[in-house]
Subunit: 308 residues, 2 copies
């Protein structure tokens, strides 16, 4: 496949748009950005400095930074783009209306990629002239550091071109075979958090202890070995078939014992008090800075070695 | 609290016993090990070389290695121990019988700590003369690398002495307020895996894609930020209270959409085929070696900086 260096359009310049723009620019791509709000457009370049410098700490690249053009119109942003990364609010109506406008001006070859977290391809594609060029490409927060991008679409060649573009900016795309609310990662995260809330609600452990258990235990291990592979490594020489045969029934019993908490006032108060204690007076931006610095170290540590 | 350097007894010399012994020895503690099987005792010292060298790559320590004594009898192993780390098979009868024998010879001050994964303190303590000195201290596989130890017991001073001993060997203990099957970490892992199995069973994504999504997405992030704190950082300046108010209802809807898969023959075959493909011809020991090397790098990367 020939390398597509053509410009990238970033449509919607909030937090997710910032991350995408920073990634593409840090890896040498020119970015045309546009947002319906002039105020958002105006501050965009300045807001990219920090994520670009963070990406530069982990980027393996051979060329200089790409150029940023903040376009005055949607048409100007998308007309030459090979990839149009859409990050507008999570509304079917807003996104569909935007795609209609984009389809008028964009090149026939341009990929339209929605960063949507809450919506699905099936909800977004109706009304498009050429739905085969729409994909969902869901990044994971903070998107300029966490490598995951979850892809779904109906056209294999569109998906392969998108896959190559995302890999070129250090991303690790995965493919869904079927459209699903929450894609993969947010379904997993939601399942885990449900039990994390249950543990607090049942008085088994405090918020900060649950979080400490995760980051020093399964979270650390899941940063290098997936959930399925974990049970392969827990099954001795015969791996997962041995595990399923001998310990499968105990997992099914464990599943039955997991909780279904309510997010009622009491539980919410427990969670807020617990997280406040865990934050220990550190503000959200301070905590984010620690998170980012640790993510960068973790990514540098795995550099050059693929995870299991 | 005065430092307790007194010897550690490691009772049960399988994989978990190896990890505990390697940790204590690498951090300069003398270990008295015993296993009912003479064959297991005989090979024990040789099996510690690899985990000791792995721990040494991440241990911050100021003294040389501790000594290993492989005891001929249980009494010899426990008589002088300040901590008796029990790792015998997961049977209430076997463990209770062992504790009775230990109580006859051990010092009144000795802590008896069970590494049990499947059983609870409430199942293990009946029949003990002094149940206040029994704790569950559940490590997470591979225990010499993953820092988590989950503690439960009924005596605060016993827990605090154990906590200090585990921290002295680089562990990150967490406390349960209430006895629970699966402690914290295995409950979280089980909840996540249930959804991971559902995603495969429903044909949403293949085994290897689910695992890749985890290690490059939420797993990576959970290695530095816990599940509860994640939603604090996802709620803007107001943190988790804003999140719960605005996105709590969408999480509850997501929870309702999560799966309850069966581990029937079809699903097990899909999992085995998927993991086999993911393993790509690499044996379980080869995969474990990659996992361990990545865990060591991840631990070195976070060295000196506490996670969020």
């Amino acid at each position: 496949m020939t390398e597509q260096r053509g410009p990238i359009a970033v449509i919607g310049c909030g937090l997710i748009g910032e991350s995408w723009a920073a990634l593409f620019i840090a890896y040498g791509y020119d970015v045309y950005a546009w947002d319906p709000s002039p105020t958002v457009r105006q501050g965009f370049a300045a807001r990219l400095l920090r994520p670009i410098s963070q990406v530069s700490a982990i980027a393996q690249r051979t060329r200089g930074l790409g150029q940023l053009v903040v376009a005055e119109t949607l048409a100007e942003a998308v007309v030459d783009a090979v990839l149009i990364q859409e990050n507008v609010p999570e509304s079917v109506e807003i996104k569909r209306a935007l795609y209609s406008e984009i389809e008028v001006v964009a090149s026939e070859q341009a990929i339209i990629a929605s960063s949507t977290s809450a919506l699905t391809w099936s909800e977004l594609s109706p009304g498009m002239r050429r739905p085969e060029r729409l994909i969902t490409a869901h990044p994971f927060n903070p998107p300029h550091l966490v490598p995951l991008v979850e892809l779904f679409g109906i056209c294999l060649s569109t998906l392969e071109r998108a896959d190559a573009l995302y890999r070129a900016i250090g991303r690790k795309p995965v493919r869904l075979k079927k459209d699903a609310v929450g894609h993969i990662a947010n379904r997993l995260a939601s399942a885990l958090w449900r039990e994390a809330v249950h543990i607090v609600a049942e008085g088994i452990a405090d918020v900060s202890e649950v979080d400490a258990a995760l980051v020093n235990g399964p979270g650390l291990r899941w940063s290098v070995v997936g959930a399925h592979m974990t049970y392969h490594l827990g099954g001795g020489q015969e791996g997962i078939s041995h595990y399923l045969q001998h310990l499968g029934p105990s997992q099914v019993r464990r599943w039955a014992s997991l909780g279904s908490p309510k997010l009622n006032v009491d539980v919410c108060e427990q969670l807020i008090a617990g997280v406040t204690e865990e934050a220990g007076g550190r503000s959200v931006p301070e905590l984010e800075a620690i998170r980012d610095s640790l993510l960068i170290k973790a990514l540098q540590a795995r550099e050059g070695q693929d995870v299991v």
